[in-house]
């Protein structure tokens, strides 16, 4: 979601920076892009690696509150082409599912803010699974609950931590890197696009057929 449908990465970074500053810890953008966006290892591992002794739950909860405040005060808009694609998918009865490493609360606030909430048939957040991406759990959870086979699904991701689990489960994977993820490794994905605007039904059908061969 963050970085694919809408750009909230910097708001999230700002929220973490704000909370860390409360504990007199300097939090750099480079660290955020490396540990959160690229590796997806998240807060707890970051705290251990940096030998910071603060309860991660406190940081997460404070960050969530401030992040929601930032979202509500921002003029957030979905990326060009997102709404058109969603409308087109809905028109053709194609299910839209969200697999995000954000919390449920943050997800709802963001989707509500950019008016995308009503398009989704299924939403899975970090609250629904134990292990976040790049673990495959969230994708497995969705396939199980939706009673769908991986061959009938296409995943669209913007980062390496997102494409890895999807590829592991043999889901056809499209990567649309954003400005923060251009240097990620997308070698094994089925398709790399520079914009979500380039996705259309023909392209999705071709990808699914390719999987059936």
């Amino acid at each position: 979601m963050d970085g694919l449908l809408v750009d909230t990465e910097m708001l999230k970074y700002e929220a973490y920076k704000y909370v860390f500053a409360k504990f007199n810890i300097k939090f750099s953008k480079e660290d955020y892009l490396k540990y959160w966006v690229k590796l997806g290892i998240g807060l707890e591992t970051y705290l251990t690696k940096k030998h910071i002794n603060i309860n991660s739950k406190i940081i997460t909860s404070e960050k969530e509150k401030y992040f929601i405040k930032l979202i509500n005060n921002s003029k957030l808009m979905p990326f060009d082409g997102v709404i058109e694609l969603f409308k087109n998918l809905k028109k053709n009865n194609i299910k839209i599912v969200l697999a995000t490493s954000s919390s449920y609360k943050e997800t709802i606030v963001i989707l509500n803010k950019i008016n995308l909430l009503n398009y989704f048939d299924f939403i899975a957040t970090k609250n629904d699974v134990k292990n976040k991406k790049p673990d495959t759990e969230i994708y497995q959870y969705i396939l199980l609950k939706m009673n769908e086979s991986a061959y009938n699904c296409i995943s669209i991701e913007d980062s390496q931590k997102g494409t890895e689990p999807s590829l592991k489960l043999n889901i056809k994977t499209i990567a649309i890197p954003n400005k923060y993820t251009l240097n990620h490794n997308f070698d094994n994905v089925d398709l790399i696009l520079d914009s979500i605007k380039k996705i259309n039904l023909d392209l999705l059908n071709t990808l699914i057929k390719k999987g059936l061969k």
Partner: protein, 329 residues
């Protein structure tokens, strides 16, 4: 106001059922109640049961998942409840969104982990949640946080902690009103109040002039339009007194336009009615007599004031009918 009642109980003790019954009885008098599940361990079930028992008519909207049976269909007679069913789909994270979005306030009685998610979702969508203390589960857990956020409503909080049907339910209604006003309305702006007062005085001045000196058809049409403005402003004043708040755009723009339109339709209907009964424009010629003008002007103005006062209810009524029609379709 649309009030969603959520929560559940493990061993549904008498006090839990009492909370549900009291809340159902009092809150259904003036509000629309939103429910979901019909499982016998949910607050929804006990609320619905109570609504059936009472003689007063109530309005209930029930959201249910398209993959499940229509809830409460085993209850044969609920002639006293005006029920609207709405279907939802998707997993929990998605399916609960329309229900919460539809509601103004969420009241939590007891509850488990799912109820915690309802609170999260409600907060994400900017809806206010009122937990009932000592009802157990999530409501109890959330109570302290709620108390800290609402310190200014000390008496209402105390009334909830020491449950007494009349006092406590009155306090819930107070909190509901305060919460919706907080989110929906901006604080009263002094200039807006002055504006409303000025518009009322000017409208009355011109209306009075027309009443005393008017003669023409056009003046007869303008009178109820001015009266509708007076009605709208009276509504705004009642609203300020009752809620200490005001939605400026609604009060100064939307409601006057709606009331104006309604009053205009009433006048046209009246005139067309007069024309069709008399078969000619006789009604207008009689306006030359000042007594006739005043009589017709006054009665049309009454319609105007009524339009202004009742415009919100009229809009709500039409909206409800349309949404019911769409749902049934």
């Amino acid at each position: 106001m649309k009030i969603l009642i959520a929560g559940s109980c493990n061993d549904c003790v008498e006090t839990y059922i009492q909370f549900c019954n009291d809340i159902a009885t009092e809150l259904s008098k003036k509000n629309e109640i939103i429910l979901g599940s019909d499982r016998k361990t949910t607050a929804d079930f006990f609320v619905f049961e109570q609504l059936i028992k009472q003689k007063l008519k109530s309005k209930v909207t029930i959201f249910y998942h398209e993959m499940k049976d229509k809830p409460y269909s085993s209850f044969n007679n609920f002639y006293n409840i005006d029920v609207t069913y709405k279907k939802i789909k998707g997993n929990w994270n998605v399916a609960r969104v329309p229900q919460i979005s539809y509601s103004d306030i969420i009241i939590i009685i007891g509850g488990s982990s799912k109820t915690r998610k309802i609170i999260q979702l409600a907060e994400s969508l900017g809806k206010k949640v009122i937990p009932i203390p000592t009802s157990g589960g999530v409501a109890d857990e959330y109570w302290n946080e709620f108390k800290n956020q609402n310190k200014e409503y000390e008496t209402d909080l105390e009334n909830l902690e020491n449950w007494n049907m009349a006092k406590s339910t009155k306090s819930i209604q107070n909190l509901c009103k305060k919460h919706t006003n907080k989110s929906k309305y901006k604080n009263i702006n002094f200039i807006s109040v002055i504006l409303i007062g000025l518009i009322s005085i000017i409208s009355f001045y011109f209306w009075n002039n027309l009443l005393l000196q008017g003669k023409s058809q056009l003046e007869l049409i303008i009178m109820p339009l001015l009266a509708s403005l007076i009605g709208v402003n009276l509504y705004a004043i009642f609203n300020i007194i009752e809620t200490k708040s005001l939605d400026i755009i609604e009060a100064l723009l939307l409601r006057p336009i709606a009331a104006f339109s309604l009053a205009f339709i009433v006048v046209i209907l009246y005139l067309v009615g007069g024309l069709s009964i008399n078969g000619n424009l006789d009604i207008f010629t009689k306006l030359a007599e000042s007594g006739n003008f005043q009589r017709i002007g006054l009665s049309l103005s009454l319609f105007g004031v009524f339009s202004g006062l009742m415009i919100e209810q009229s809009i709500k009524f039409i909206k409800n009918k349309i949404s019911k029609f769409i749902d049934n379709e």
